[in-house]
């Protein structure tokens, strides 16, 4: 089985960002791998370590700056890394990413696309769904356990009120959730070795947003919540506050 694992880089979720009319200001923030993407890579590498996958390929859609993160993915156990190079990541929408991944799939012919369910910067949670539509492949989202036998995948995944187990025959798309695993940190030896590996540049013809405009961000601003917190002195005050705001409810 060959697994393709998309990797997105995001502004460090621990850092406060501000917004302006035109854009999110991420200057001064660190860039990190999207946590869900790291979990997807870990899952793919573990499948390889179990002998269930032969090759793990990572791909990012971004500027040349993405290369250093792809090197880290190689250090975490990926076999090859691809960069779909773009001049600017800012105007890309999920439809563009899904389109680019579709082009990569057409060339690389993976059996499984294993990817994060959402990116923690723009919180869209769309690319996996869109990619599966473009490929006409089965899809399971928010996976928290994956089992493989021959070409059959059995996936336990989160639903609104619990978990479901679905199964499908490869090829397909699976998006991952937090509970699937805890990604490893590569050791220094792995990092050094990965630096000597090259990253292949993948050329993707016109993205959907190059042909027509779909969306435009016309403003970015901080939400307003006007609260002066009332600190309570004792448990009775706490009980009273709860009673006040719940007595009229069912």
């Amino acid at each position: 089985m060959k697994i393709l694992v998309p990797q997105k880089q995001v502004a460090d979720p621990g850092i406060i960002v501000s917004g302006s009319r035109f854009d999110v200001n991420t200057s001064g923030t660190n860039t990190v791998v999207n946590p869900f993407c790291a979990i997807a890579l870990e899952a793919a590498v573990r499948l390889k370590e179990c002998g269930l996958a032969a090759e793990v390929i990572v791909v990012s859609i971004g500027t040349r700056a993405a290369q250093k993160f792809l090197t880290k993915s190689l250090a975490c156990g990926a076999d090859r890394a691809l960069l779909v190079e773009v001049d600017s990541e800012e105007d890309l929408i999920p439809l563009d990413i899904a389109y680019a991944l579709q082009q990569v799939v057409a060339v690389e012919k993976p059996d499984l696309v294993l990817m994060g369910k959402q990116a923690v910067d723009f919180d869209n949670n769309q690319v996996g769904q869109m990619l599966s539509a473009l490929l006409d492949w089965p899809l399971i989202t928010a996976a928290s356990k994956i089992a493989v036998e021959n070409r059959q995948l059995t996936v336990e995944h989160e639903v609104d009120d619990g978990m479901h187990i679905h199964t499908f025959l490869l090829p397909g798309v699976v998006t991952v959730d937090l509970q699937l695993n805890e990604p490893r940190s590569p050791g220094l030896a792995a990092v050094v070795k990965a630096r000597s590996k090259s990253i292949d540049i993948f050329h993707c013809p016109d993205f959907p947003t190059a042909k027509q405009q779909h969306l435009e961000v016309i403003d970015t601003y901080a939400p307003h919540r006007d609260i002066n917190i009332k600190m309570l002195d004792d448990v009775k005050g706490l009980a009273d506050a709860i009673k006040t705001h719940s007595y009229r409810l069912g």
């Binding site: 539509a133 473009l134 978990m163 199964t167 435009e216 970015t220 600190m231």
Partner: protein
């Protein structure tokens, strides 16, 4: 211009999610049609037909759609969506999965997790764990949008007509729409006597600071007294104290109840994203610098082992 809403149902009744989306859609003052897929769902179609806000009901009634598999749903919806200016659903798993897939079939963008409808083509949605809001304009001929359940209220009243008035249109299924898909094996349902997080007026939420089994039991007692749902931070779910579906946060459930009681929750941005639009937030934490106090209406600094038994005795 017309709106198409995907009906969310469990085979027997229409879900709250559907009524919230229907209510929100009425802001645009356009005709509203509803698409429903299922098996032996004639009673649901009739119910939809009696809603005064609904003009037409498009239905697929076939055993292949009994559990509304999202891949088949997306294809069928894409085939009928061309006549519409708007395609709406909620941010439930159903909406989150089907709408982007439908958008890709149509080569259009999807706008996910909208918290405000500004106009026919402009919507607001949170980004960066809700620390920023993004106002987005769509140029697509169909605005494909999932509406955040926590941002739109249930209608105050739902007006029915005594007889179904809306047109009912049965859609034919094209054989190519029935193809290779995922197979359902089983469900692991979270058994809870409590209201669901999205429906609850009051949520009592557990953070890592809750610490002990005894405190947990006190939290359950508090939730019982208030007829509240119980939620959790990621730390609590990771520790196995509560199941995954109870997690409240940026990448889990986003809620906005009338009252949110945060116990032992420090207030990391990822958690705040899931609850900061609650009408009233009451937080208890032993650290006076906990970020939760920046979004709370009321705060109490104290040890939960001490506070909870006393609190429960007073309520």
């Amino acid at each position: 211009m017309r709106i198409l809403i995907l009906a969310e149902h469990d085979g027997l009744t229409l879900k709250d999610e559907f009524y919230k989306v229907l209510n929100a859609s009425m802001q645009l003052n356009l005709a509203i049609d509803v698409f429903i897929a299922g098996y032996q769902c004639q009673p649901l179609c009739e119910m939809l037909g009696t809603l005064s806000a609904v003009s037409k009901v498009l239905v697929i009634d076939d055993v292949a759609f009994r559990y509304q598999p999202e891949d088949r749903m997306a294809k069928v919806v894409a085939s009928v969506a061309w006549e519409y200016s708007h395609l709406f659903c909620s941010t439930s798993l159903f909406g989150k999965t089907i709408l982007p897939r439908t958008a890709a079939h149509l080569n259009m963008a999807a706008i996910s997790g909208v918290s405000q409808i500004v106009s026919m083509d402009t919507f607001v949605r949170p980004i960066y764990a809700g620390r920023l809001l993004s106002k987005v304009k769509s140029f697509d001929s169909i605005k494909i949008v999932t509406l955040m359940l926590s941002a739109f209220p249930m209608p105050e009243k739902i007006i029915f007509r005594p007889e179904p008035v809306a047109d009912l249109v049965h859609l034919a299924i094209d054989g190519s729409q029935i193809d290779r898909t995922t197979s359902f094996v089983r469900e692991i349902k979270s058994i809870s006597k409590r209201r669901s997080l999205q429906a609850a007026h009051i949520i009592v939420s557990a953070g890592r600071g809750l610490g002990s089994k005894e405190n947990f039991e006190e939290l359950e007692t508090l939730a019982d007294k208030l007829d509240a749902a119980v939620g959790a931070t990621r730390a609590v779910v990771d520790a196995g104290w509560l199941t995954n579906d109870k997690q409240i946060g940026q990448t889990a459930k986003i809620v906005a109840p009338e009252l949110y009681i945060a116990l032992g929750i420090s207030g990391a941005p990822q958690h705040l994203a899931g609850m900061k639009d609650s009408k009233i937030i009451i937080a208890v934490n032993k650290d006076s610098n906990a970020p939760i106090f920046q979004v709370a209406n009321y705060g109490f600094v104290g040890d939960l082992s001490d506070v909870l038994p006393k609190l429960n005795a007073m309520l």
